[in-house]
Amino acid sequence: MNVDLQRPVFVLDGVDVPFTTGQTVMQAALAAGHYIPHLCYHPEFKPHGSCKVCTVRVNGQTFASCTLPAQPGMEVESNTDELNDKRRTLVQMLFVEGNHFCPGCEKSGNCLLQAVAYDLGVMSAELDHLFPNRPIDASHPDVLLEFNRCILCELCIRASAEIDGKSVFALSGRGITKHLIVNAESGRLADTDIALTDKAMEVCPVGVILPKRVGFRVPIGQRRFDASPISAQALEDAPRTPAPRARGQA
């Protein structure tokens, strides 16, 4: 007997998606093998809903799918021209809000922002660059903080607080002046207790938190997104369930 027959389902772009009570639309979709573009969502952390790249439409209203609880029978639109246009604009705004120089960036090929942009077909920023002045923090002997690339996803904040138990990172400011800070009176990373083994070191989706002196050690061709696009890889992060039934299928 198919266990999915006993689970409630919602409809994503015309396909039934089974879910377990308590799952979000994002969690259920990924588990069932359906990719919804996202940036600040990470399967190991409580959903945050800040980047809005995972926005879907339900009954004419838009929601962040990473925080939207799945409900039986809900009709969810995700892969539509309208929503993908909005996602492209959101990603372009992230690019122009910081200083993202992919050609010289050691995270290129391993960067989620770059990968999502490629996957969505973003070929240029199109908007005016803000070129903010964000000096890097190279004070720590083992860790480089490259603020120019921060997209304020707060994954490092969540990882440091929830798993490392250190609270090395926080956000400060409001609106366009919002920025990442470190938990030290001096404001220098060298005066925090961050360590190379911290979870916060591995969750940054872009090239902000970097171990020193290892950049470019992985050759082109062996970087994460040289192998396959993020839309294929994101599904590997989620626990898989049996393939969903198409609507109307017996």
Binding site: P103, K212, P219, G221
Partner: protein, 495 residues
């Protein structure tokens, strides 16, 4: 006045002809010519008007990022900047000797670069002038015209460049702007499949490169009066050579000869290049003027690149290229060759050297495996010098204890050749433009001289022989009295 035609005595009373833009790589240059009322040339200057800024904006960046970042100086020879910066960073991480595997993979990358850049320059950029004539029909004077009339030559040029790019892809990860060289070594080896794929064509590439030397030599000898005299000037010559005096384009010591071929200095460790070389700033150009410190700015300027290198070394360590070198030297009859157009002949000898070196390296199993990265005691200062396709390239950095670049000094090949190129176009202007009404064909003579050096300024929009130019005649009061515009499509229209 140190140099003839550099500065006119009374510029305010002269008519001004401006060639602008003469494109530099990813930037612009221009040539200004001042004429008196009888159209006699009184002043000629090559200006590199672009402000690049790499030395400034590399400051504050982590040192391991630099070999990748500085490649963006150029789309034609990014590997040269990549490797020069990597060699400087070797010193920063204390890797005074990288592993044999790293050394050979970097050399393979570099000779791929020499091969593709020299092929591009000779076949795509210069052969239209050399095969059709400097003032031939502008509609035909491009690589498409060469392909129509000499399909075999054009095809070999394209395939030689392609092969060089494939060597770069295999060693750096991408044909343009790869990441293969890292501080202390390389990030990948060559696989057996990649080696076999390249080796399959290596002998054909050597044969085509040898044919290219013969073509350049034939063109020179067929019109020896023009080729020996066009834009010719005597100067000192500078390049790296191996410790034993052999040609080595990847690593070595600095050697300089005077215009008669006598040694000025030799065996100089480039770690302290500034003991021998310094730079002068002139108010009319953003590009500095390097010179040999002991000789001063008036006598100490020099040329770099193929013409200097082929004559500066004692021998070339591959047999076919060395045989061609000996024939070239014999052509000089015991005196150094200073003909600007002889750059092309020398350049093709180097391309043959690169092709033979690639073939030899592909037979060396060290490229298939071994130690990739070496480190040692951290240093504050790193200097990397390499012979780029266009000439000696110096990268010099200081790094603070937080691993950030605090100072950078880059002396690129075109800068070394600054005075030399100015001398050459002055010779051309004096001989071909003096007292004559300007035409597109005459202006192209200026470009032919600039192009012989293969400076970065011929790289961008000139790739199809249609460098956009604006020539203006301005009277002494600054009023424009005439202009000719050549568009990017090569069509000339009145102003």
């Amino acid at each position: 006045m140190p140099f003839e035609l550099e500065t006119a005595a009374n510029p305010g009373s002269l008519r001004r002809v401006v060639i602008e833009p003469v494109t530099r790589v990813e930037g612009h240059g221009k040539v200004t010519i001042l004429l008196d009322n009888d159209d006699h040339v009184q002043q000629v200057r090559l200006h590199i008007v672009e402000f690049r800024g790499f030395e400034k904006f590399v400051q504050g960046r982590p040192y391991w990022e630099v070999p990748v970042m500085v490649q963006r100086l150029c789309g034609i020879c990014p590997v040269s900047h990549h490797l020069a910066a990597a060699k400087a960073m070797d010193q920063i991480v204390g890797a005074h000797h990288v592993s044999p595997t790293a050394d050979k993979i970097r050399r393979l990358m570099h000779y791929g670069q020499i091969l593709q850049s020299h092929a591009l320059h000779f076949f795509h950029l210069s052969s239209p002038d050399l095969l059709f004539g400097f003032d031939s029909d502008v509609a035909k004077r491009n690589i498409v015209g060469v392909a129509a009339e000499h399909p075999e030559i054009a095809t070999q040029g394209v395939l030689l460049r392609k092969y060089g790019q494939e060597v770069i892809r295999v060693t750096a990860g991408k044909r343009v702007h790869g990441t293969g060289a890292i501080p202390g070594g390389v990030n990948k080896v060559v696989t057996v499949a990649e080696r076999d794929e390249l080796l399959a064509d290596a002998y054909q590439v050597v044969a085509w490169s040898r044919a290219a030397v013969h073509l350049a030599k034939k063109l020179h000898l067929a019109n020896v009066g023009l080729y020996n005299s066009f834009g010719a000037f005597r100067s000192n010559m500078l390049s790296l050579v191996a410790a034993d005096g052999a040609m080595d384009l990847y690593h070595g010591v600095l050697r300089a000869r005077d215009d008669a071929g006598r040694i000025i200095f030799d065996g100089v460790n480039y770690d302290r290049y500034w003991d021998q070389l310094t730079e002068e700033v002139k108010p009319w150009s953003y590009m500095k003027f390097p010179f040999i410190r002991s000789l001063g700015p008036e006598a100490g300027w020099y040329k770099v690149g193929p013409l200097a290198r082929v004559q500066n070394c004692d021998h070339i360590p591959t047999p076919l290229a060395d045989a061609e070198r000996r024939e070239f030297i014999d052509f000089g009859g015991g005196q150094p060759i200073h003909a600007t157009l002889a750059f092309h002949w020398a350049r093709m000898i180097e391309m043959l050297f690169a092709a033979e070196s690639i073939k030899d390296l592909l037979h060396d199993d060290d490229i298939l495996g071994g130690e990739l990265v070496t480190t040692g005691e951290r240093q504050e200062r790193g200097v990397g010098v390499i012979e780029a396709p266009r000439g000696t390239l110096i990268h010099h950095y200081r790094v603070n204890e937080d691993d950030q670049i605090v100072r950078a000094n880059l002396i690129v090949s075109t800068t070394h050749n600054n005075q030399a190129m100015n001398e050459s176009i002055r010779q051309v202007a004096k001989r071909y433009l003096d007292g004559r009404q300007l035409t597109e064909g005459l202006l192209n003579h200026i470009e032919v001289a600039i192009r012989a050096f293969d400076p970065c300024l011929s790289c961008a929009t000139h790739a199809l022989g249609k460098m956009p130019l604006v020539v203006e005649l301005v009277d002494a009061g600054g009023e424009r009295i005439d202009a000719v515009v050549r568009n990017g499509d090569g069509v000339c229209v009145g102003g």
